[in-house]
Symmetry: C2
Subunit: 233 residues, 2 copies
């Protein structure tokens, strides 16, 4: 056997999608149907579907079926995941500690990022994300108050800022800057790490259809944060 059977089935499915035969959200043959068509057991057909699902090419709903994932959610920009979901998926306990939540003036240094005038109302939040009570990420976020007026009323121990913003102002675009840095003393204390510990720092600007929604600086200790294959914000 040159290629394993489950690989052949995967390639067949990918071909159907790439040739346009199976458009977005189209239903993919069920495990049993594929098993019959390819004369394999259900578990082998299942493996093909499962791996393609892991690769975000398909999505599955229990009891309902398997479907072609929408292309948009995969490419274009980056899949922006919710850190709380990610931690839960690891079987760990997520919690958050709110450090700051206030209205303030937009720092001059950030003016060009927002493309707004001096004096524009801005909200600022500072939250520490914890995994099993260990600080894993510091989130510093500047929010365009005119687009998200109710931001200060939220309880960010129940919902992450990213999740909240995604609901009230669906993002249409985002830019990222990613680098490794030695963080400031303040940040080191907040994250409970030593002064020489390198951190992964992601700066993200998000837009909705109305304009720049927020600018976030996400700082994670390099030794505690498994970045693996993807970015988790």
């Amino acid at each position: 056997m040159t290629v394993p059977k489950f690989v052949a089935i995967k390639q067949h499915i990918i071909n159907q999608i790439e040739s346009g035969q199976w458009p977005e959200n189209a239903r993919v043959p069920s495990e049993n149907l594929l098993a019959e068509q390819f004369s394999v057991s259900r578990m082998t057909a299942r493996r093909a579907l499962q791996e393609l699902t892991d690769e975000n090419i398909l999505f599955r709903t229990k009891g309902s079926g398997t479907f072609v994932a929408s292309f948009k959610s995969q490419s274009s920009l980056l899949e922006i995941k919710n850190i709380a979901d990610e931690i839960s998926a690891r079987g760990h306990r997520y919690s958050a500690r709110q450090v700051t939540l206030q209205a303030q003036d937009l720092p001059k240094a950030l003016l060009p990022l927002f493309g707004m005038n001096v004096g524009t109302q801005i909200f600022y939040s500072e939250i520490i994300h914890l995994e099993n009570d260990q600080p894993i990420q510091l989130e510093q976020r500047y929010i365009n108050a005119s687009l998200v007026p109710d931001y200060l009323q939220q309880n960010f121990s129940q919902i992450t800022p990213h999740e909240y913003l995604s609901n009230v102002a669906p993002l249409t675009e985002a830019t990222h800057e990613i680098e490794a840095v030695i963080a400031s003393t303040q940040i080191n204390q907040l994250l409970a790490i030593s002064s020489q510990q390198p951190c992964l720092q992601v700066k993200r600007r998000t837009w909705s259809s109305q304009g720049v929604v927020s600018f976030a600086i996400l700082t994670s200790p390099g030794d505690k944060y498994r970045l693996g294959g993807h970015l988790t914000f």
Copy 2:
């Protein structure tokens, strides 16, 4: 059953690793041993090991065993994958078309990126990466000639610039800027896409211990490039 058995096994393994019991490259119990310890079938134990391998927490060698993956390869910055490997892994055919390969002056606009003086010798390469003969990414790269003097002599249909640079000047750091753009007419022609097609553009600067090695602009059509969960450069 509150959590599935394979999840419980995964958590147990993660705990051992995070508590330091199982250091990097330590051998993980075999499928049969885990099956016995947890009173499950080998296939269930296998699933736990396999999923952790997919998450880059373990690695497996046929005939040899399962081991704890080294932490470094996962965190720190970003896993920078080789686009050629990635395309091969999809079962597709990788090829490259070299557009330009020359010595030239460093464009003034890029001077601050390299932190070098005017007149420094620079190499420039422009390569199109193809998947099944379809253009999938344009790579424009400026190379610090003093650190990589033999760059122009390479044959980039056999080895990607990233692969070559990784060999001769192992990178210690990298920064990324990621955004969605409408590319120039020239780039659209090279990638054989329409003028309104949005592209994913990644700008990457890499450092070795000697200093800035190269600056690359990687442009990929948003509809042809599955970014999925990770960045592939």
